[in-house]
């Protein structure tokens, strides 16, 4: 469509202000800090230097963390892939008794993750842990410190990182055209053959995508190595965290973060290539949804059932125990011995009445709420611009806003704190590091790419003629947006808002770099509670937090995913 020549009139002023805002935002929040990171690494007092690189290469600890990350990422891709596929097959493909219950169990990772999940596992399997104690009683000389190092990290992360499989791979499985399965059966193919040759190939593109996401998660693992890696198994991100604490070693932290950034960019490029090749579209017009397959071999059937329920226990046990122990007193938590008399509501009372206890919660809620609202508004404006103008500027806007997607949280955080620790012109000469604003900015930045991708999808699935219709009925641009477009995309926007809020509430990776000492957010606070030295009273608190967050997240997940397709736009 031909565009009318742009004429400057005062009605356009808000538009130009918005454009100016985006230019400033992308430059000062997304581009400059990251370029500055490169700069701090390779330039000292204005001169090019390779000193940080040499220092890094000679630091045994740093090199070990690099090596560890490079072992963890591929190992995790394999184990998560195996478990993830199992989960999808158990819940969606095979006819397994109690599949509905199993599915709920497998989906618990959607309602708790990161630091809370790891601390839950540590409580069960760790030194003096619930299960460890049981093992120690049954097996003499059982090493009670068994749950530490590479295998422990791999174990926890294997079960923590299947959320993507439960969302994306499961959707792909449900989209499989069942008539292809019936056709294969009709031609006499065995069950295993159908699974391997007909069903799994359709899932391959989704599987590759989630595997790459897992790989990146493995590379930038934070909570698990931090809490259960022990001295021997520390990975890149915890190392960055250590280095960034002193000014002298900050270039080292930045360099490691750069390494993560480059690796992530490379992997995501591969992923986009795969995505471009496209998904296998079903060519059939009359799709039949999958009917669950009964495993015909009785022995295999029993084994698969046993496997499914063991997985279920692994997923559910931490959740159940966290909930149970959140109602017990400090002594019970310290000894891990449950008795009826130990149950109490005191922990919940403490959280509700003591300022020091509820403050982190309030801090996180406020930060998450503000950031999620800001992201939603920011992205809505951006999407409207991208949708209305198909030119180079709008493409630049889109790619600019997607920058954080390519970079690990740690790198973004390092960039922000090292750039804005001195007055900079493009931040109005304000110092941000150490203030309470910077975490808000950080939260907003990390949530932009996901929000943009989802919101844009909602915008582009809109029928263009809706807008034409509104205009031909006399409505102007903003009125059309407010009355016609916004109500249609609102369910999607709200769902993303909820997910963002959810994700930020327990955030640790970004918060730990930029929280204000007086305003400790939940993730950081829980981590400090989980550290071995703290007393049992505190771990009681961390359980209560975990439960509260599970309730909040569970509610959000239920409204976003659980109610089926209600959030989708009806045509």
């Amino acid at each position: 469509m031909k565009k009318k020549k742009m004429k400057f009139d005062s009605g356009q002023l808000p538009k130009y202000l918005i454009y100016a805002f985006f230019v400033w935002f992308i430059l000062s929040c997304l581009v400059i800090p990251n370029i500055n990171t490169i700069f701090t690494v390779f330039f000292e007092n204005g001169e090019f230097t390779l000193e940080p690189l040499q220092k890094l290469l000679s630091s045994e600890k740093a090199m070990k963390s690099l090596r560890n990350s490079c072992i963890l990422a591929p190992a995790l891709s394999v184990t998560v892939g195996f478990v993830g596929i199992s989960l999808v097959l158990i819940t969606e493909y095979f006819d397994i008794r109690g599949a509905r219950m199993l599915r709920i169990g497998y989906m618990t990772t959607l309602i708790y993750g990161g630091i809370i999940l790891v601390s839950g596992y540590k409580f069960i399997y760790g030194n003096n842990g619930f299960l460890t104690n049981i093992f120690a009683k049954v097996i003499p000389n059982f090493p009670t410190d068994w749950f530490q190092g590479f295998w422990a990290v791999l174990f926890v992360m294997t079960f923590a990182c299947t959320s993507n499989h439960m969302i994306f791979l499961r959707n792909a499985m449900r989209a499989v055209d069942f008539q292809t399965v019936e056709a294969a059966q009709n031609m006499g193919a065995s069950q295993i053959r159908i699974l391997l040759r007909v069903v799994l190939p359709v899932l391959t593109p989704s599987l590759l995508a989630v595997t790459i996401l897992t790989f990146i998660t493995g590379l930038s693992a934070t909570s698990a190595p931090l809490l259960i890696g022990g001295n021997d198994f520390q990975t890149i991100t915890p190392m960055i965290l250590t280095f960034s604490k002193t000014v002298n070693s900050r270039p080292l932290a930045a360099l490691l973060a750069l390494f993560l950034g480059i690796a992530t960019i490379l992997l995501l490029t591969v992923m986009m290539k795969i995505e471009k090749r496209g998904h296998y579209m079903s060519i059939s017009k009359v799709k039949t949804t999958i009917r669950k397959q009964k495993i015909r071999n009785p022995i295999i059937n029993v084994l698969v059932h046993i496997y499914a329920y063991i997985l279920f226990l692994i997923y559910v046990l931490p959740v159940v125990l966290i909930v149970l122990f959140s109602f017990t007193d400090a002594k019970t938590i310290a000894t891990r011995k449950l008795s009826l008399s130990a149950f109490t509501l005191d922990n919940y009372k403490t959280i509700l009445t003591e300022a020091s206890a509820y403050r982190p919660f309030i801090v996180s809620v406020i930060y998450s709420l503000l950031s999620a609202v800001a992201v939603a508004i920011l992205v809505l404006m951006a999407c409207r611009i991208i949708q209305k103008n198909k030119n180079k500027a709008s493409a630049a806007l889109e790619y600019g806003l997607l920058i954080p997607w390519l970079l690990p949280t740690t790198l973004i955080a390092i960039g922000l704190i090292t750039t804005y620790n001195t007055p900079r012109f493009w931040m109005f000469n304000k110092i941000l590091t150490g203030t309470s604003v910077i975490m808000f900015i950080g939260y907003v930045i990390i949530k932009i790419p996901f929000t943009l991708r989802m919101t844009k999808a909602a915008f582009f699935s809109l029928d263009d003629s809706l807008e034409d219709a509104a205009r031909s009925l006399g409505a102007k641009g903003f009125y059309t947006f407010r009355r016609v477009i916004l109500p249609i995309v609102l369910p999607t926007v709200l769902a993303i808002f909820a997910l963002n809020f959810n994700g930020l509430l327990g955030d640790y990776d970004m918060s730990v770099f930029m929280y204000h000492p007086l305003n400790q957010p939940l993730g950081v606070y829980i981590k400090s509670l989980t550290d071995a030295q703290t007393n049992a009273d505190n771990s009681a608190l961390s359980f209560v937090y975990a439960v509260l967050m599970m309730i909040i997240s569970g509610t959000v997940v239920y409204f976003v995913y659980g109610r089926g397709d209600k959030t989708k736009v009806k045509k």
Partner: protein, 338 residues
């Protein structure tokens, strides 16, 4: 009433419309007909204002509206997808344009209800979500929404193409009926020739961004102005020179039929074993196959080297069999040549 004069529209380097001139009269049902990508929808969108022409003017009742924005043109539009707002009820959809005009609530209510009555939407249906209505009801909502603001003109962009065959015919009649009742000037876009022929007062046939012919349905069908039009509308037989001479045509008298031009004849204008008045040309032929449609029979016949399709009304007499020898006759006046 609507005048398009020397309209050119470009999309980048592509010239979508070349020198379009159309005059739609008051109360007329005017159809743009053509294959996909011919420029018919582009022309419609130029009238509604979604597209600005590079050259030329659009005027309504003598007033130049070429640069008037869409929302100020007061031209109603019904979209191919209906473009009903999914978050609003039927009532809210119809009331949308009136609300934009900041009409009072009571006036809106009255107008919506009286419009709903005219298009046979019940009070109960007005409170429903648009997704709960059937295809035909949705179409009526789309029409009601376009008409309720009393536009001077209504534009319809393939409003029947989303429906199944039976409903399409039924709604076609309803549409025509509504247009007659409202007496509103209508511009209709379709690629379906049957729709165009049955609905329209006038048809403009488009091809590759130009208008091939403007005329009444009867003119377009019986006196196609160009070879494209005669091939696009209905089915047709191409007649070779040798065939025409063999059927008794005087090739030297070019005032009746010029055999050096391309000659065409419609299927139903050739008669099998039945010489009508004026059928001065006759030729023997052999039946190759017959397709029985109930209402009519379609024969494929061979006359010399020429293969011909002929439609015969089913009059109840036995069908000609494969291999049967027959005589074909036709009137030279029915031959169209280019």
């Amino acid at each position: 009433m609507i005048k398009l004069e020397n309209i050119d529209v470009c999309f980048g380097d592509f010239k979508a419309l070349k020198n379009i001139n159309i005059h739609v009269k008051e109360g007329e049902f005017f159809t743009f007909l053509g294959p996909s990508g011919c420029g018919k929808t582009t022309t419609l969108r130029t009238i509604t204002g979604f597209i600005n022409p590079v050259n030329g003017t659009v005027s309504v009742r003598g007033k130049d509206i070429t640069n008037t924005p869409v929302e100020k043109r007061n031209i109603g539009m019904v979209f191919q997808s209906y473009a009903l707002f999914p978050t609003m009820t039927v009532y809210e959809n119809i009331a949308f344009g009136l609300k934009v005009q900041k009409m009072s609530k009571e006036d809106i209510r009255q107008k919506v209800y009286s419009m709903a009555e005219k298009v046979d939407l019940s009070e109960e249906q007005l409170q429903k979500k648009v997704s709960e209505l059937s295809g035909g009801q949705q179409q009526r909502v789309a029409i009601a929404r376009a008409l309720v603001t009393s536009p001077e003109i209504i534009c319809l962009d393939e409003p029947l193409s989303n429906l199944d065959a039976k409903l399409r015919v039924q709604l076609r009649n309803e549409l025509k009926d509504l247009q007659r009742r409202f007496g509103i000037t209508s511009v209709y876009v379709t690629h379906d020739q049957e729709e165009a022929l049955t609905l329209s007062d006038k048809i403009a046939v488009f091809n590759e961004g130009v208008i091939e012919q403007i005329g009444t349905p009867d003119e377009i069908y019986n006196h196609s102005a160009t070879e494209f039009v005669c091939n696009f509308i209905g089915d047709i037989n191409r007649l070779e020179k040798e065939f025409l001479i063999a059927s008794g045509l005087d090739a030297s008298n070019k005032s009746i039929v010029d055999v050096d031009k391309k000659c065409y004849i419609r299927l139903e204008r050739i008669h099998v074993n039945d010489v009508l008045d004026g059928d001065t040309l006759k030729i023997g032929a052999e039946v190759e196959s017959a397709e029985f449609y109930g209402l009519y029979i379609k024969y494929i016949l061979k006359a010399g080297n020429e293969s011909l399709k002929v439609i015969e009304k089913n009059s109840g007499r036995p069908l000609y069999k494969k291999g049967e020898k027959v005589t074909l006759s036709f009137n030279p006046k029915d031959i169209m040549q280019y």
